[in-house]
């Protein structure tokens, strides 16, 4: 009998074009997602070398990182952002790459629209010049971020030079408690294994708590694999996955879909498959989580307090905590629930899906955004926005005093005009709380959409369970 294989092994093996003598593999890429920030030099490289895009029919481009989330019909005011988008438009025209225009309803964050449009399929290899490409692993795909030279490599050859990663299993048993979400699961995982915990590995998420998540929740978990140090995260395709993909515009249709689904069902890891490392968590023990520092691993339950660096035995780590507390303007022992916020950001490729907006609206319904708080909701895509408007979520949120914006990355990284002012504190559903990530001097607390809405209506890092 053949050696039992993991999900990762199966997807990897089915995409190896050639194994080179030193162990590097030429890996075939099924889907290449292209955006405006990391592609200009790649297209330029092709042009200089007189090369073409090998498979435009496996490539799709969209602008998301630095487009404004206000009305875009007037164009983009910031010259550098505008030039990047215009460059992308010229490049896709010249190289015949399919493109979703800025004013198209399907425009959105590349990691939201890939799954939403059926571009991202189980068992496929998906790359994009962006680290959060790990999101697409929720479908059981091998999806990871690449650099500009590699973008050019994929455009020219439809392959990448890669060495196989190690396998890590993160199993989440049990049932999530009331008020807890996929975001709390992944923050708890990162808090447990640390931001370097997954280095050199791909993480497969398994266990009943993961199986119980809908696709949006699974994407939230896989999205933050990169914050756990892993290049990719995967969840085995199951009936939830297959039902999600069915009928999506770019997915296989009819009889082709049935043949695809038959293959997808063979992908879950074999019984007895070996993992280089296994971590087990109990979902029942997870509370709504909030970060206090400037690294995603600095996370505690919302009921907790800011940790005391004095209790940290490791000197380097102690100094680092001290710096974080200074930057975040927090004191050791302070209760997180007493921390007040100036801004709330609901959106990003971590939590910009319709399910996330529903969760936020459920908390916001009939309440008011606290005095002095700027709360902003940025749907992950134009289609998410349409759907939310069809469900009346926009009205609930706007009545509560939230801003309702156009789709894009927005305040997740502040490359467009949505930025924090220095010293402002933000409750954010995004994935990175690095210094200055949401604007120079801005202070970010990562949390779930429901928790973010609770922060908006109370003006502090409230426990959403007390608002129910």
């Amino acid at each position: 009998m053949a050696e039992p294989r993991t999900l990762f092994d199966k997807v990897w093996d089915s995409h190896v074009v050639e194994r080179l003598p030193d162990g590097t593999c030429i890996l075939y890429i099924d889907r290449h997602l292209v955006h405006e920030v990391t592609s200009p030099q790649a297209f330029e490289g092709l042009r200089l070398a007189g090369r073409r895009v090998r498979r435009p029919d496996a490539t799709i481009a969209v602008a998301d990182h630095n487009i404004p989330t206000s009305d875009r019909r007037a164009g983009i005011a910031e010259p550098e952002s505008r030039v990047q988008v215009e460059t992308l438009e010229r490049n896709v025209a010249e190289f015949n790459v399919p493109y979703i225009p800025v004013l198209d309803a399907r425009q959105g964050i590349v990691h939201i629209i890939g799954p939403e449009l059926g571009l991202s399929l189980p068992g496929s290899t998906i790359v994009c010049g962006d680290s959060h490409t790990s999101t697409h692993g929720a479908l059981g795909a091998l999806a990871f971020g690449i650099g500009t030279s590699e973008v050019e490599h994929v455009l020219a050859t439809q392959t990448l030079l890669q060495r196989p990663a190690k396998n890590m299993l993160v199993r989440v048993d049990g049932t999530l408690g009331f008020g807890c979400t996929a975001k709390d699961i992944v923050l708890a995982i990162i808090g447990t294994i640390g931001t370097a915990g997954g280095t050199g590995h791909v993480i497969e998420y398994a266990g009943v708590a993961i199986r119980a998540l809908d696709m949006a929740g699974r994407m939230t978990v896989c999205n933050m694999s990169i914050e756990a140090g892993a290049r990719a995260g995967l969840i085995a395709p199951d009936e939830t996955t297959i039902a999600y993909v069915a009928g999506k515009p770019f997915a296989p249709q009819g009889e082709a879909f049935d043949r695809a689904a038959a293959w997808w069902r063979t992908l879950p890891s074999d019984p007895g498959a070996r993992y280089d490392r296994t971590v087990v968590l109990d979902a029942g023990a997870i509370a709504p989580m909030v970060t206090w520092g400037t690294s995603p691993e600095t996370v505690v339950p919302v009921t907790g307090t800011v940790p005391d660096p004095a209790r940290e035995p490791d000197e380097a780590r102690r100094a680092q905590m001290q710096r974080m507390l200074e930057y975040m303007a927090l004191a050791p022992g302070q209760r997180l629930q007493d921390v007040t916020v100036d801004a709330v950001f609901i959106g990003s490729c971590t939590n910009g899906r319709i399910e996330d907006l529903r969760a936020a609206a459920a908390v916001a319904r009939g309440r008011r955004v606290a005095e002095g708080v700027r709360a902003m909701v940025v749907p992950g895509s134009g289609l998410v926005k349409q759907q939310a408007e069809a469900e009346g979520l926009d009205r609930i949120l706007m009545q509560a005093g939230f801003e309702w914006r156009e789709a894009g990355c927005s305040m997740c990284l502040g490359m467009n005009p949505d930025k924090l002012a220095p010293g402002q504190r933000c409750a954010s559903t995004s994935n990175r709380n690095f210094e200055g990530r949401q604007g120079p001097g801005g202070r970010t607390h990562l949390l779930s959409p429901a928790m973010a809405a609770a922060a908006a209506v109370t003006g502090r890092l409230a426990d959403v369970r007390e608002l129910a």
Partner: protein
Amino acid sequence: MEKFTTLTATAAPLPLANVDTDKIIPARFLKTIRRTGLGVHLFDTLRYDASGAERPEFVLNRKEFRKAQILIAFENFGCGSSREHAPWALLDFGIRCIIAPDFADIFHNNCFKNGILPVRLPRPVCEALMADAQMGGNARLTVDLSRQVVVRPNGEEIPFEIDPFRRHLLLEGLDDIGQTLQHAAAIDAYEVRLRAERSWMPAIAAG
């Protein structure tokens, strides 16, 4: 990528150690959408004053070195941030070969990716070449990659070591992509298999 076989050119002396990539190309030029056009910003802070005027004393601003294609420097050239903009800027200026006692790792790699030959030679040899370079256009150096020698203006030949695989890629003008494309037959064969085994995989069409 342009082939590198034999280069006879003016060498510019840059008698500095630890030239970091920020010196080669400062961070404020990274928002560009191109990898060409960075040459005017090469060594920006060394080359221009605060008003943007050229510093006449900087080597690349001197008439005899404006067309230099070889750069002679000291230890740890290219250290610091991993930006690929550093070799892009050098190449865009026209530099095809850098001679130094040693190089930072990532920069060294990035040179090969972009058709620049980094040559490691012991410090005393670099000092001798530095003296040659000071003579500007009156003392052209020849770098012969196929024979792995640097030829001084006085005819003396100095052998250098280079990884044979890297040498092959440069001589052939192959970057990573070029190298992968040598396996084009395997990629073609894979695609044939793919169309048979996963024929359900849709093509992406615009519109």
